[in-house]
Amino acid sequence: MTTAVDSVHSALAEIVGGARVVSEPTACAARAVGGRVPWHIVDAPTAESVAGVLKFASDHDLAVIPHGNGTKLAQGCPPCRYDLALSLKEMNHVRHYEPADLTISVEAGMRLGDLQDFLGREGLWLPLRPRGGANATIGGILATNSAGPLRLRFGSARDIVLGIKVATTEGRLIKSGGRVVKNVAGYDLCKLLVGSYGTLGVIVEASLKLFPRPASRATWVLETGTLDLARDLRRRILNSPLEPLCLVLLNPAASDLLGNGPHSGEAHGVELWVEAGGSPRILERHARDLAEMGRSVGVRSRQVSEQTAERCWSWLINFEQLFAGSFPEVLVLKASLPIASTEQFLSLAQRGAEGEEIRMAGIAQVGVGIVHLGLWGEKLGKVADRVVTNTRKAAESLGGALVVEQYPNGFNAESDVWGPPGDTFEAMRGVKAAWDPKGVLSPGRFVGGI
């Protein structure tokens, strides 16, 4: 056995360079995914080396999980096998930048925080607030189609990517799309790869659409107290001429955690957080209209400081950190819903959590229809499976779907993370088989065991 591990180590070292392959057991144990420990950790320095590693893995039937900073590695089922942890962190260079064209091409391992700092010099930004925040890498954001609350205005990673370069299991480097903002030549493989969770190929480079950073921003909180009032106000805001950047609803537990930390005694109700951007006149208009809309239903609108707002937004996207320390075990669910059903879903989920005697923080991007739930409590381990089943039923009964983003020990992750595949499953399996015939890329992690 040892000899096999050694020979794989040297073969990989030949592809990426000796210092970039680690096979030391403790280091590997620290990189476990879903309880499975890889044999080797490989830091690929170039696109060509990623392709080389994939070809080697495919030829020798070694399972690979590609990753950047690992901020979203908890998402997905545990792998059914795992040999190589393929890190793209070293690939963090800007390949092409044309600020006047509002486009940039970067390597997949670039941290979002570094990219935002770089773009900030020209007054530009990438309007994404994905899970993992500044630590998320571009490759990871694309592989998981992560977006965050700015989606209301700017869309998700899927809408912002113009082109990608991908390493395939045959060791090829291929491209789809390009650097221009409009392009319909050939199949849109960007769409296929974005959100494919590293199961089809490894995104090594991406060209992205950039946006001017708003001149200034402001955030208001509308303390609606109840979900009914929150729904009423959400309708009014979405039907108004206002064009907020984000519109987020927090349930009482979420506002409580955000406002005072997990152990405060002060009770909070349901809150709507609204962020707008633009010139002072545009912000004034938002302030005035939001206050007016609030008043018409007896709800106060208060502007919060930039600092508080930043804390809220960064907290929302680093959901799990909120619980760190206080609650070691947490279940994070993401529901995708028709936008009008978000409040009703929250109320059904809340009732379910109460029935199981666990607590639930709910954060809903109400204009988009994406809801994140954080569930915790002493009994969580015992009831997690049932909570997922019932909450998924609630989402489906409202015409939506539900996936598990993070789960506690003992949860039946193999069967329950993605929910039942629909009538597209055979087609998805076909796509997987066409691009990764040996099933070496993130095996078992995606929908239906793909």
Binding site: E98, P99, A100, D101, R151, G155, S156, D159, T168, R172, K175, S176, R179, V180, V181, K182, N183, V184, A185, G186, Y187, D188, L189, C190, K191, L192, G195, S196, L200, P212, R213, R235, P241, L242, E243, S279, I282, K334, S336, L337, P338, I339, A340, G369, I370, G399, A401, V403, W418, G419, D423, T424, F425, A427, M428, G430, V431, A434, W435, V447
Partner: protein, 475 residues
């Protein structure tokens, strides 16, 4: 003349009123916006998904080719039955199945005309954003197949950014449902893959789209220039100021004189170029942006900037733009529209290049661009009866698209590859790139019976096409 066995079988499935087969009838389906001519063997008109499934299953059992068609306005030959077969025309699947304003969604059959959807929700203050110039005629099914754009996609994105779910009939006759009314359906984004796949992976029978709320305020500006270069510089300067207009169109002097004679939109007859710029949004934002844009235009030597004072005047500005192709048709027997894309900062250089190409090949080229996103539509005028001129047009077009590729751009921004640009694909994509696309095609359409000869070149086809496809016009 008697119907063939194939026709009789299809008549049994759909009824006689849903099948066309006489040469005079099917001849109308031998071309679309590209005048490469090849008639289908038979044209069928399904009313429901079930009808489509029955046609497709029958075709599968007989190993017949199948080509879908909306309104036939496509410019790349996507709906031309290049190798014959059954043409499925969606003219009778034109119901808006559901308008769900609370969720900002609509569910439609593929034969619904683009503009009809907007009209259906307009009174409630909503619209469907992608607006191809042919929006009065083109269908949403065709828009999905080609991933259609339009002038107003600069701010809001193209078709793929507005489609959330599809019902698709695969070549086997199996029906699948991708996405839905919500974002992020678990699994691969097959909706995103199907949009723009030009009917080569499956036939779309139902579409769920996003509806958008109309902006509170709109300002439409017409900036007039004495030099083309100043107009193109303005485009870059507007982007550099951090303003994203809803639309930013450029029309050169030659084209604009043709338009003005046809539509009397009020464009100045003696200018070198105009920019048609629209900003929309909150009243305050529109006022600020409009003032900024006016000053950017003036800094870049616009002769003057006019702002539409009424909805009627706005419509008039746009009428000229949207009827440009027709207007050029008045002064030339035919024309060939290009659809290249370049990084928008390279516009000045590109326009100069196009001018040189016109001189080199002695052809007249009009320019009408989605300047804001670098999507060019050079229109080369010609007489198809003049063989030498037709050859020069093809060569001029080839050089323009090669230049787009050189600049890091694309050969098509919104019209699709179809049969028209299939031979250019190897210049844009490597053999590996194309091969990975073929693998995807193999998953869905392994026998190649669905819309054969489109998008992906095969070795055999290249030679044939080079010999026989000629650029064409819509007249």
């Amino acid at each position: 003349m008697k119907p063939t066995a194939l026709v009789r079988e299809l008549e049994k499935i759909l009824g006689r009123e849903a099948v066309l087969w006489r040469p005079d009838d099917v001849m109308l389906y031998e071309y679309d916006g590209l005048s490469a001519l090849h008639p289908p063997d038979v044209v069928v008109f399904p009313r429901t998904t079930v009808d489509v499934v029955r046609i497709v299953k029958f075709a599968a059992s007989q190993k017949l080719l199948v080509v879908p068609r909306g309104a036939g306005t496509g410019l790349s030959g996507g709906s031309i039955p290049w190798q014959g077969g059954i043409l499925i025309a969606f003219a009778r699947m034109k119901d808006i199945l559901e308008i769900d304003l609370e969720n900002q969604r609509a569910r439609v059959q593929p034969g619904v005309v683009n503009l009809d959807l907007t009209l259906a929700v307009s009174d409630a203050g909503y619209y469907y954003a992608p607006d191809p110039s042919s929006q009065k005629a083109c269908t949403l099914g065709g828009n999905v197949a080609e991933n259609a754009g339009g002038p107003h996609t600069l701010l809001h994105g193209v078709t793929t950014n507005h489609v959330l779910g599809l019902e698709v009939v695969l070549p086997s006759g199996e029906v699948i449902h991708t996405g839905g009314k919500f974002w992020d359906a678990p699994g691969y984004d097959l909706t995103g893959l199907f949009v723009g796949s030009e009917g080569t992976l499956g036939i779309v029978t139902e579409i769920t789209v996003r509806l958008m709320r109309k902006a509170e305020s709109v300002a439409t500006l017409l900036a007039v220039y004495d030099r083309i270069i100043d107009a193109t510089r303005t485009v870059a300067a507007i982007t550099a100021r951090g303003i994203t207009p809803a639309a930013l169109e450029m029309i050169d002097g030659f084209t604009l004189r043709a338009i003005e004679e046809a539509t009397h939109a009020g464009y100045p007859m003696d200018s070198a170029a105009v920019l048609l710029i629209e900003v929309e949004g909150l009243k305050e934002a529109v006022e600020e942006d409009a003032l900024h844009i006016e000053s950017v235009c003036q800094e870049n030597r616009a002769r003057h900037v006019r702002r539409a004072r009424s909805a009627e005047e706005r419509d008039l500005f746009w009428k000229g733009r949207k009827n440009a192709f027709g207007a050029l048709g008045r002064i030339s027997p035919s024309y060939y529209v290009q659809d290249g894309v370049i990084p928008r900062t390279r516009l000045p250089e590109m326009l100069e290049f196009i001018g040189q190409i016109g001189t080199k090949y002695s052809v007249k080229i009009g320019n009408i661009f989605h300047a804001g996103d670098g999507n060019l539509h050079p229109i080369i005028l010609f007489d198809p009866r003049d063989e030498d001129e037709s050859r020069r047009v093809r060569e001029a077009a080839g050089e323009i698209l090669a230049k787009c590729i050189d600049m890091g751009g694309s050969i098509t921004g919104e019209h699709g590859v179809g049969i028209e640009k299939i031979n250019l694909m190897p210049f844009l994509f490597s053999a590996d790139d194309l091969d990975m696309m073929r693998k995807i095609k193999g998953v869905f359409n392994s026998e190649g019976r669905f819309n054969p000869g489109k998008v992906l070149p095969t070795g055999k086809m290249c030679g044939e096409l080079r010999a026989s496809v000629s650029p064409g016009g819509v007249l």
